[in-house]
């Protein structure tokens, strides 16, 4: 009895040691930078960048501005649209991969692009979409168009490239959950009277929920903070919060305002994660007592 007791106390102390590196990591690379940003957002801007140590709400007052609000709404809209398109494409891809006999091959196809720097991949898209790019040249040669199509430097291009950049982050978690899914459940659903679509809606989707949530968070959060893609393939209509931050840091040199905008991104991401967590818990509670098909 005594030995067991001693053992368990020792384990409890060791348990702290196990988590210590994680805690240290989070403190150093998450809490400290976050505190710096929070602090900066409440300071006065320095004349040539940097900050002056004087408490003020100036940054937040500057933020309350219709043009900034428009950028915020646009960022939200672009992120939601790009995430939705990514999910619509990623689900069937992940499903097909999970059911395929050549899983390793397809996983390789998903991972290979990561061997190339993301900037280079964005420039590759410029070569595809620009007015002298691959698509326009091909269409001109075939005689389908005379004038170049406006494929680049607009919101459409930004969304296209964002979807391309982040779709692997959606496919991988979806693939993992679908791969573990017991496909006989779909047969069982069909057997008792559901159509193909109903069996996916009422049996597959609820059972791969965790993967869907991960995929949405993995795409929405980085897209919401994106700045290189709108910078390189976007136009006037695709200026996003990420671009504001970069411009405030490098051009306007208003670091407190940049910090304040960074906090908006953090807040929206945190809100997204919390919303997902709450909705899963609600869903779980609903399923415990409630109904299968609503």
């Amino acid at each position: 009895m005594k030995a067991i007791h001693q053992n368990s106390t020792r384990n409890r102390r060791l348990g702290f040691l196990y988590t210590a590196p994680m805690g240290l990591w989070l403190t150093l690379f998450f809490l400290v930078p976050l505190s710096i940003i929070v602090t900066y957002s409440f300071l006065k801007k320095g004349l040539y960048g940097g900050v002056e140590w004087e408490f003020t709400f100036a940054a937040y007052r500057q933020m309350i501005n219709p043009s900034f609000f428009r950028v915020f709404l646009r960022t939200l809209w672009v992120s939601i649209l790009a995430t939705t398109i990514t999910m619509i494409l990623a689900l069937p891809c992940a499903y097909a991969m999970a059911r395929s006999r050549h899983q390793v091959f397809y996983l390789g196809l998903i991972i290979i692009p990561f061997w190339t720097n993301s900037l280079i991949r964005i420039y590759a898209w410029i070569a595809v979409l620009s007015s002298e790019g691959f698509i326009n040249e091909a269409l001109r040669t075939l005689g389908i168009i005379q004038e170049s199509l406006p494929l680049i430097y607009n919101q459409g291009a930004v969304i296209t490239v964002l979807v391309y950049m982040y779709i692997p982050f959606a496919i991988l978690p979806l693939f993992t959950v679908i791969d573990k899914f017991d496909f006989q459940l779909l047969e069982a659903a069909r057997d008792v009277g559901s159509s193909k679509w109903q069996s996916i809606r009422h049996v597959l989707l609820p059972n791969i929920r965790s993967g869907i949530i991960t995929a949405v968070l993995f795409t929405f959060i980085p897209i919401f903070g994106a700045y290189t893609v709108p910078l390189l393939v976007g136009g006037k209509d695709s200026y996003m919060i990420g671009n504001i931050i970069v411009d405030q840091v490098t051009k306007t040199r208003n670091w407190p305002l940049a910090a304040a905008f960074s906090l908006i991104i953090t807040a929206v991401s945190t809100f997204g994660v919390l919303w997902m967590l709450v909705s899963t818990r609600k869903e779980r509670r609903r399923m415990k007592t409630g109904r299968a098909i609503v």
């Binding site: 069982a188 057997d191 109903q198």
Partner: protein, 374 residues
Amino acid sequence: MKGFDVTVRDVSRAYGNFKALDNVSIHIRKGEFFSLLGPSGCGKTTLLRIIAGFDSPDTGTVLLDGNNILPLPPEKRPVNTVFQSYALFPHLSVQENIAFPLRLKKLPESTIAERVREYVHLVQLDDHISKKPAMLSGGQKQRVAIARALINEPSVLLLDEPLSALDAKLRQNLLVELDHLHDQVGITFIYVTHDQSEALSVSDRIAVMNQGKILQVGSPYEIYESPATDFVARFIGETNLFQAVVKHCVPDQDIYMTTLNIPELGKDITVTDYDLLPVGQRVSFTVRPEKLKITSERPFRSGKDLNVFAGVVEEPVYSGFHSKYYVRLDQGSVVKVIQQHANYLDEGPAISWKDTVYVSWIAEDGYIVEAIDS
């Protein structure tokens, strides 16, 4: 009698070069408890999946109550399945699993609740309705699967090795319950199994399958007592099987007293048969271990219809209510003999290892398998 009859006509199904079903035809009667019995890979599950609609045959038709059901998707067939792995929806409670088929039909909430209660009661799960499948035992999961398959009131219930994941004792109990359930709901049951004892104990009729073909269809009694082929004889129960040649065949009232030459046994034996077999025909001879008598003394009775072989007990296997003896006959072959245990009323010492014994049986207890497979 509720339920539909099922006619499978000339159905073939190949996967690449592998013939899962090779021109299979059977007729399953209305309300029958019909078993498809065979070793794994014999095509029984493929046939079940074709009837359910999860697979389609390369050629042939499947008729349900006279109507071709092959063009219908699984959800449109009045056929439901109990899956080997249960296939319960893990995100739903017992109650919701059973209600699932009714919810799809968008029935009123009160009707659903009432029907679910009825079926939960039928499979005796009243105390577990709000549990998730992960919290149930194997037997309970099985009951949920059965209730979910029955609640739509199908005309045919397909059961794909439903008891194979359960332990032996539970299997026996559930088998009896399944039999009762069949009597209660009265629909056609098609039961797939590789376990011959399961099939023998509950089925009205059995189809024995091997390598995509149906070898024999008949009642459990027929299948056991009069196997159509060597494979059926060996697969159903235990047996002693020998290659033989017909030596002569004489009528004896309405049967034929047949003498077979069995090289392995080194001498002729007599057996009765309903057919007149031509002299020189090659057949198989089978005699079940429990039909053999093992004695320490040469049997008193004699006559043309008694077959007696002397031998030595090579291996006695005690298994509670009976013992099995492997006896090496003087001619060299080994035969299996199963004997009920001797009790105090019997005379003489028990038979044991290395004992010299006599193995005997009368002509009526042997059986000639006329068809030689391969």
